[in-house]
């Protein structure tokens, strides 16, 4: 028996790649979008199915069905829909979208008309979703994808909106419809619920304050006494209230105050209660004025705890729910339970792109319905009706199309109906490296404000184990608020609760409807998605049954069943946005996965999902994890164990998965690497040379890392690497390697180490103006033939007005696209004097696109295409860079450094084999950083090189050190990885051994060429005449306040005058010494005299301020004294 267990331990990791054979790393985005397209959209349509109009009683319009057009994503060319691919959209700045169509029945005149396939608008399509052409037409097949210009490793999950790739980030929020016990602003204990349904969102709390309970809600101007609210909800007697909350003395003793307060207020009947509430209502701003008690009834009925369904006048479920809240407050007051941990991940829900689109679509759809209704009304009010009103004319597809496109491309979700004003919902997909794009798809934003100085939401919560990557978070203000999903984390989508409810009731759950308060409180409450379904007597049997059903596929695999012992409740959750992860089920102290299972699944004979159906692996969410005993590995299984991890490596996310031996590193180093891996230059995608991006950095010779991890293989970093295996000598050399600087070997650079391409886009459009004039392209000016030196900048231009691919572009501003625009635009659209066709030849001015850059570049590619009614021209400009002093490099262990010296290859030390290092790293980088993983990477890589195989540095695994040592020694190398070196300068043997071997180095995007900047003279700002700011404007370097303070303290007056005046905005100014005002040249307008004019020097900004003050009726006067 023991042997099989050990076999499983060794091979179990194969389940992870097997899992990703069928699912993508970003499956959550795809699932969410698909859910929206197939279910969400229909639900929204059903909720707003019929449009009616008060003015025309028998008119109506009904949506029968809503769906995406079966043509797939298209480009609309008037009447024709042309199929498009994502790559065409990127290149041509189009939106990758499909038409939304609806079947509509409506009244036209007196007849009912059925209309099929009416276009409502266009929905941007998520790449690789089930509505995407890449899946429907190209079947995600590598060859077919290549034909479509797509990279097979691209994960999809983003949108292409106006040619820009946009990601809708995952948003983290507090759970809706769940009771949270917390202390409010005044320190009182309260139970808060944020109710959310399709119709309405509201938040209400029960507060225990001054010995009595209150119901707090926005629509009440004061806190409402609980008993009053209960009575208004048709609870007749005080006895019933006590019974519902708990007739046990420990509960009832807390209720005395509340009951007294109600009688003090003279509230005994329902009528009195409603009147009492009605008086304390906030005044509504809109709608017809109504009687207070009716208003109170409506608020209690529809707004408060609106997620609990109220059937006509039956308030019973709401009352039971409210009483449960009170019970929980009492338990918290008594100290039986603690405050709920808001940071617990069980209390969080993740909002994905589908949810965000759903909210947006609901808003747009309602707006459209409103437009139809208004159209009908205006039509009715018109006196002469030539034709019967056709409602379809009121549907403007542009509204929905633009609504989506605008929201996604700007990232602003501003929906007045939900009082929602969110910006930064979408981000441009970072294509700096393959990892950065992939990392973005697993990124998650918290709704917390970045400015708040709280540590709770930022710190790593234990409940996120296995769900979120513990290493991958940015540094600085958003530290801990932006998180990343772990490898196997799954985010659920909503599931239908109707069959689940039926099942629950058929397994002995009794509806509270028929039960008295005592019966409710003495049994176990059963919740489904925050709603009380009823009670059950035997929780263990019930929960076991439900879990059995889940493991055998009778109910959804993502349904979670959680027993809360302290609250004596069973929480069943099937809602969307929960995080969960697959775990291997352990029964009777043994893992249910056999080596045969692993073998069958990893060879692809059976799909991974078969293990789910066989009840060997199941999804467990954060709450249910509290009922589980999860072993880290087989060795840790005890009798109480319920689950075991599939593989410990899945606790990390994609970015941290790159790091070899991360479990040997100091933890912040892994976090630093997660940030830096995204900046590493490498291969971006197989279609990288087809793309025309604003800025792209590509490595000329990317290499697969010598030391890999299983995660690297799963996410195909191997195929699109970002870095090179450099031979590193850990030693000090030359003194140009202090403070993390590295020394590079010139010979290596000559041979192509660290060489990269920078590819930049330049765009222009040829527009058509209202006066029928157009922009044109032109060849070289005629004068070029005579004066090629003067018209040098047109040298690259061909006869078609474009610089052909391969043209040299000098930093002096070579023209790339010779565009000429009409000199005068506008005026009369049709000049009165002459017909437009016979218009005089137009004067054109040069509107060329010039190359601006510090080095010579080349044209890589030119794209001329049509977009709407413009001609779009994109030029791709490329330059090749060899590493230079100051370029930034980093290993995979958060060890970044700049190049301090490029040493001649013969000057570098060499070992007995004659190998000299590519990179020299200073050993002082190690002690304080404690990146032991880097040392292990080096020796594992060296052993790998010697044996012709890759090393493995998977977390909590990898090639063990004793194996590495054996491999090194067997090839005649020192077991520590230390080599004997000879100095390349003196030729002598070096007295110390040097740690020497290959380490994977990343070239980071920060390069000197993009940053170096100096200025002596240059442009000045118009208003202040001070030098401009910033490198892009050739600006000056600011001598700031602190620098100025230093100079003042030192007494360097001359230097201050020179920096702040002479080198900045010195100005000679005429001043009247009598009145002290700024005068014009030789004449003081205020004294009407020219006698007392002096010329003084002052900063122009100073003169400007005096004049601005004067314009505000403040007179600054200068008192001049003789020098």
């Amino acid at each position: 028996m023991m042997t099989t267990a050990e076999e499983v331990v060794a091979e179990k990791w194969k389940l992870v790649p097997a899992f990703f054979n069928t699912a993508s790393l970003i499956q959550h985005h795809l699932d969410s979008f698909d859910y929206f397209v197939h279910t969400g959209m229909v639900n929204i349509m059903k909720a707003n199915q019929v449009v009616r109009c008060k003015a025309i009683p028998n008119w109506y319009l009904r949506f029968d069905n809503i769906y995406l057009s079966n043509t797939g994503p298209t480009e609309s060319q008037g009447m024709v829909e042309d199929p498009i691919t994502p790559m065409q959209c990127r290149l041509r700045d189009l939106t990758y979208s499909t038409a939304i169509q609806a079947d509509i029945s409506y009244m036209r005149g007196n007849s009912l008309v059925h209309s099929q396939g009416v276009q409502l608008g266009r929905l941007p399509i998520m790449l690789r979703s089930s509505s995407c052409r890449l899946r429907t037409q190209y079947k995600l097949d590598n060859d077919l994808l290549a034909q479509a210009g797509e990279c097979p490793h691209d994960a999809g999950g983003y949108f292409v909106c106006k040619g820009v790739e946009k990601v809708i980030l995952i948003q983290e929020q507090l759970s809706k419809n769940r009771i949270i016990i917390e202390t409010d602003a005044k320190g009182d204990i309260s139970a808060t619920v944020t109710s959310s349904t399709h119709e309405r969102k509201s938040r209400c709390s029960i507060v225990f304050r001054k010995n009595s309970f209150y119901l707090r809600h926005n629509s009440f101007s004061v806190d409402m006494p609980l008993v009053v609210a209960m009575k208004a909800m048709d609870v007749r007697t005080d006895q019933e209230i006590i019974q519902l909350i708990g007739s046990d003395q420990k509960y009832s003793e807390y209720l005395a105050g509340s009951l007294e307060e109600a009688s003090r207020l003279k509230v005994f009947s329902r009528k009195q209660a409603l009147d009492c509430i009605g008086q304390k209502m906030k005044q509504r701003m809109y709608g017809d004025p109504r009687k207070p008690h009716e208003e109170a009834y409506d608020v209690l009925h529809d707004v408060i705890l609106n997620h609990v369904p109220v059937d006509r006048d039956n308030f019973r479920p709401k009352v039971v729910y409210l009483c449960n809240m009170v019970r929980r407050v009492i338990m918290a007051v008594r100290g039986e339970t603690k405050m709920d941990d808001k940071d617990n991940y069980g209390n969080k829900r993740l909002e994905l792109s589908g949810d965000m689109l759903s909210i947006l679509f609901e808003d747009l759809f309602k707006k459209m319905c409103y437009d139809i209704q208004r159209g009908a009304e205006t039509m009715q009010s018109k006196s002469n009706k030539a034709a019967a009103f056709d409602a379809l004319k009121c549907i403007r597809p542009k509204n929905i199309t633009d609504g989506f496109v605008h929201a996604i491309s700007s990232g602003n979700w501003s929906l007045k109906r939900f009082r929602m004003e969110r910006s930064g919902v979408t981000q441009v997909l970072s294509r700096l490296s393959y990892i950065s794009a992939l990392g973005m798809m697993t990124r998650m934003q918290s709704q917390f404000e970045k400015t708040r100085k709280v540590s709770g939401p930022r710190s790593l919560h234990p409940s996120t184990f296995g769900m979120l990557c513990p290493a991958d978070t940015p540094e600085g203000e958003s530290c801990g608020l932006v998180k990343n999903l772990a490898l196997l984390c799954h985010i659920t989508t909503d599931t239908n609760t109707v069959p689940l409810k039926k099942l629950v009731y058929s397994h002995g759950v009794e509806d509270c409807e028929t039960l008295s308060g005592d019966e409710i409180n003495n049994n176990w409450l059963v919740f489904l998605n925050g709603e009380i379904l009823g009670v059950h007597r035997r929780p263990k049997a019930f929960v076991d049954a439900l879990r059995w059903y889940r493991r055998h596929g009778h109910i959804g695999q993502y349904v979670s069943v959680f027993v809360n012992e302290t609250l004596r409740s069973i929480t069943i959750a099937s809602d969307g946005g929960r995080v969960c992860r697959p775990l291997i089920i352990v029964e009777h102290g043994r893992s249910s996965i056999t080596p045969q299972d692993v073998e069958r699944v990893s060879s692809g004979d059976v799909p991974f999902s078969s293990l789910m159906r066989a009840g060997k692996i199941e999804y467990v969410d954060v709450n249910e994890e509290n009922n589980c005993m999860i072993a880290f590995n087989e060795a840790g299984i005890t009798d109480e164990t319920t689950h075991v991890e599939i593989d410990p490596m899945t606790v990390l996310g994609v970015c941290a998965g790159l790091i070899p031996y991360p479990h040997h590193n100091q933890s912040p180093r892994n976090t630093y690497q997660c940030a830096m891996g995204k900046q590493a230059i490498g291969a971006i995608a197989y279609n990288q040379y087809e793309r025309i991006d604003t800025l792209l950095y590509l490595l000329v010779y990317p290499q697969k890392p010598m030391v890999r991890t299983r995660t690297i293989e799963i996410m195909a970093f191997n195929e699109l690497p970002a870095g090179q295996n450099a031979t590193v000598a850990v030693m000090s050399y030359s003194g140009y390697d202090i403070e993390d600087a590295t020394v590079l070997n010139k010979g290596s650079l000559d041979r192509g180490y660290g060489r990269c391409l920078a590819v930049r886009k330049q765009v222009t459009t040829l527009r058509q103006y209202p006066d029928s004039s157009v922009d044109v392209l032109a060849g070289r000016p005629v004068e070029y033939a005579q004066l090629p030196e003067r018209f040098e900048k047109y040298s690259a231009i061909d006869a078609d007005g474009l610089a052909p691919a391969g043209s040299r572009l000098a930093p002096t501003g070579t023209v790339i696209i010779h565009k000429r625009s009409p000199e005068t635009i506008g005026g009369d659209i049709f000049p009165a004097s002459e017909a437009p066709a016979a218009a005089a030849p137009r004067e054109y001015r040069d509107a060329s696109v010039e190359y601006r850059g510090p080095v010579t570049s080349h044209v890589d590619k030119m794209l001329v295409t049509q977009r709407d009614d413009e001609v779009l021209i994109k030029a791709l400009v490329r330059d090749t860079r060899r590493p230079e002093l100051g370029d930034k490099f980093s290993s995979r262990h958060g060890q970044k450094g700049t190049t301090g010296l490029i040493a001649l290859s013969e000057d570098l030390p060499f070992n007995e084999q004659g190998i000299s290092p590519d990179v020299i790293m200073n050993p002082h980088g190690f002690p304080s950083r404690m990146t032991v993983g880097k040392m292990l990477e080096l020796v594992a890589g060296k052993a790998g090189v010697l044996h012709g195989k890759f090393g493995y540095g998977t977390v909590f695994g990898g090639t063990p050190y004793h194996q590495i040592v054996q491999d090194l020694v067997s090839r005649g190398f020192n077991y520590e990885g230390k080599d004997m070196l000879y100095s390349g300068i003196t030729g002598e043997l070096q007295p110390s051994y040097v740690f020497y071997g290959p380490v994977y180095y990343q070239k980071l995007k920060h390069m000197v060429q993009d940053k170096m900047h100096a200025r002596s003279r240059g442009p000045r700002a118009m208003l202040t005449r001070q030098p401009t700011e910033g490198r892009s404007r050739d600006g000056g370097l600011r001598l700031g306040e602190m620098e100025r303070d230093c100079l003042i303290a030192y007494g360097a007056t001359g230097l201050i005058t020179e920096r702040l005046l002479t080198a900045s905005d010195e100005y000679e100014c005429n001043v009247c010494s009598k009145c002290g005002l700024i005068a014009s040249e030789g004449w003081c307008q205020s004294c009407k005299s020219g006698r007392n004019i002096c010329i003084i020097r002052l900063p122009y900004a100073c003169k400007l301020m005096f004049q601005e003050l004067q314009s505000m009726n403040i007179v600054p006067r200068l008192h001049l004294a003789d020098q």
């Binding site: 010979g747 001649l904 013969e906 020694v969 020192n974 007295p991 110390s992």
Partner: protein
Amino acid sequence: MERADPDQFAQVSKYGISNTATTSGTAFSLSTPENQVSEQLSVKILSKHENELEFELINADPSIANALRRIMISEVPTVAIEKAVIKNNTSIMQDEVLAHRIGLVPLRLDPSQFEYFATDGSESGTELNTIVFTLKVDCKMENGVLTPDNGIVYSRDLVWHRDESHQYNDRLTHDEAGNELPLPGPVHGDIPIMKLCQGQSLDLELHCVKGVGRDHAKFSPVGTAVYRLQNDIRLSKEMLGEEKINVKKLSGAEKVQVKTMNKLRHDLVTRCPLSLNPGTSTGSDTSSVFKLIETKSMLDGDKLYKVKLNNPSSCTMCRECIQDDELATHVQLLKVKGDYLFKVESIGSMEPEDIVRKALAVLKDKCAKVRQTIEDNTEKKGGAAGEEVDDEEM
């Protein structure tokens, strides 16, 4: 064990190497009188395989050996492609990347037939300083196969552009004796430069000039030129196990001693990864550092061994044999200062002996230049002229 002479040997130990510096007064140090140095200095060729030459330089100061190494890497001139005129390149490889790759292809050209190309731009290419190659490939699909060579462009596609108007063509095709030489071209024809797809084509004109490795690694005539110091391994007498033991006359304590020593011998050889281990098949017989030799005598049924120092120069200095403190007392790892085992790996454009010879010539020039400068300066100061130069010392 007795200590090795610190002037002659560097001592390799567990945590570092001592006595690495060259002390003055040794036979090979530069402070030794010149003629004495030249007498003792010697060169022994060890092996030569194709482009690899191994030789031993004995009794030289490290500065001399290192100068030789450095010059071979960076100052022996070769001819390489310097400028690429790209007339057409419809492949996916960028012009700069293609040019960089082609530049690194080693060429079979005798640099002595060329002059340096002035780098200040004052000079244009002439037949004396430039030789032109062309690379013209059109990739087509023929019978379902990409031609030529499955679409792969190899270095053999670089073709010498022979301009008949040049009068020096003969120098490239014939040697001094008038024998025909192979045509100028790449050393290795099978270096893949890039892959082409159907319909893609290349048309390049490549200008090759003479240069040195200091300027760019592509001009370096060697893959690497390197030396290491000769090893000297000393074993204690007990380790060698040469003294005769009469097994039968041993006392109990002596028996234990012999047994531990025997085990230590066995340990030494099994630990050494470069020794022929009795148990394993790694390591060849000649390159084996130590050898374990069975003696005829047995002790309590155990065979007794002695260790033979077989080939110390193949030791890679992994220090496995001195990791164990007990063993370390019996083994002394030494590096012989002044005794250099050179390895010159030519990239193929020149014979490795030629590279060494030319490097020596460069070194000689340098020395002469230094000497000349000193002489010039001393003359100016009115001092006496320098001694006569004996240039034949090397």
